[in-house]
Amino acid sequence: MTGDVIKTDAVIIGAGPVGLFAVFELGLLDIKTHLIDILDKPGGQCAELYPEKPIYDIPAFPIITGQGLTDGLMEQIKPFDPVFHLQQRVDELKSDGDGGFHLTTDIGTQFETKVVIIAAGGGSFTPKRPPLGGIEDFEGTSVFYSVRRIDDFTDKTILIAGGGDSALDWALNLHPVAKRIILVHRREEFRAAPDSVNKMRALADAGELDFVIGQVMELHGKNGQLESAGIRAKDGEITRLECDTLLPFFGLTMKLGPVADWGLNLEENHIPVDTEKFETSISGIFAIGDINTYPGKLKLILSGFHEAALMARGAHQIVHPDSKLVFQYTTSSSSLQKKLGVK
């Protein structure tokens, strides 16, 4: 991926519902889009936090799930062929000195774009860090929140904490290379694929893996090298288990992340914008959805949709400065219908 720079009209940071709808509004105005998102799927919070939970305040949908809304938006933006760059986070955003912008993601994908739309919601999803005393001293050497290379865990005594799919999947996947896997979870039940749970229990029954009911409460070691962890059982007693590696899997939380370093004005972790174009303090960078703020701001998906429509008109002036924008309705405009592929 490194080396080639992707050139486009617009880069949308965040593929949540508002970022997705921005593709539609920009597409109607002939603006091509690339989307970047840290998650492995489009939908943002709707897909990650509450795919099955009902939303009651989307106009014309008395009830729709987070996943249903995402699926509908994906269908709606299909005619515009947006390009998705998933599991990536924009680390750098700089002016290219010529009115446009240069972006680089954490894995080195580079973009040159005329406008940037920040639709990053509550920020970037990052793994939750257990509030254990001294954990930061072990991070990167003994404590890891993701597995990049399985081989790095060869012959390690790995404590895996958590009861979801990530905890189970990595217990099973690292089992063949690890010296020993100890899975620590606070209760007998798991919220994970039953097949993975069964496989884990079979390994535990065969004595090939340790499953311990409890919670990690203390870490012990020195110079960044973990030596043991204190596990609290149901009865409150703390037992020390020897281990040299800890993988905590307690879900994701949202952090503003690198957005704070891009030279934009910020107000308490939100990006102030005007309410005509939803442009930030830097011309050509727009912010829509939960991440922006302005007088009267409501963090509602429907407000984000409105912001996307007005933002697109602002973006059009920059991307197509010579073309005059004529306001049209999708119900009656044959040129818009052609773009939507319905004519």
């Binding site: 939970k53 979870h185 039940e189």
Partner: protein, 106 residues
């Protein structure tokens, strides 16, 4: 109006007036009680409104349902008295409820 008392980890007490029908999380957020983050806004999807229900009130507040129990897996230092405050509905029967806010919400 039911009164709810939130006790912070350092012992600071916050007594607030709640309305029947709202959740214990909403009453905390509305009254700016520190330590209850409620990142997901009450969808039982983040485990950042974790509280410990005072022993005397555990019967009245009831047991967590399966979805809440699942979400508690993502909370820190979970105990028998752990609940997600977005899942406890305030009623007149809960007038005087006391909950403890954990030191950290992750």
């Amino acid at each position: 109006m039911p009164k709810i008392t939130y006790i912070e980890h350092d012992g600071t007490k916050h007594e607030v007036d709640a309305e029947a029908g709202m959740t214990v999380m909403e009453a905390a957020v509305k009254n700016s009680v520190p330590g209850i983050e409620a990142e997901c806004g009450g969808a039982c999807a983040c485990a950042t409104c974790h509280v410990y229900v005072e022993e005397a009130w555990r019967k009245a507040t009831g047991q967590p349902e399966e979805m809440e129990e699942d979400m508690l897996d993502f909370a820190f230092d979970v105990r028998d008295s752990s609940r997600l405050s977005c899942q406890i509905k305030v009623s007149d029967e809960l007038d005087g409820l006391v909950v403890n806010v954990p030191e950290k919400q992750f």
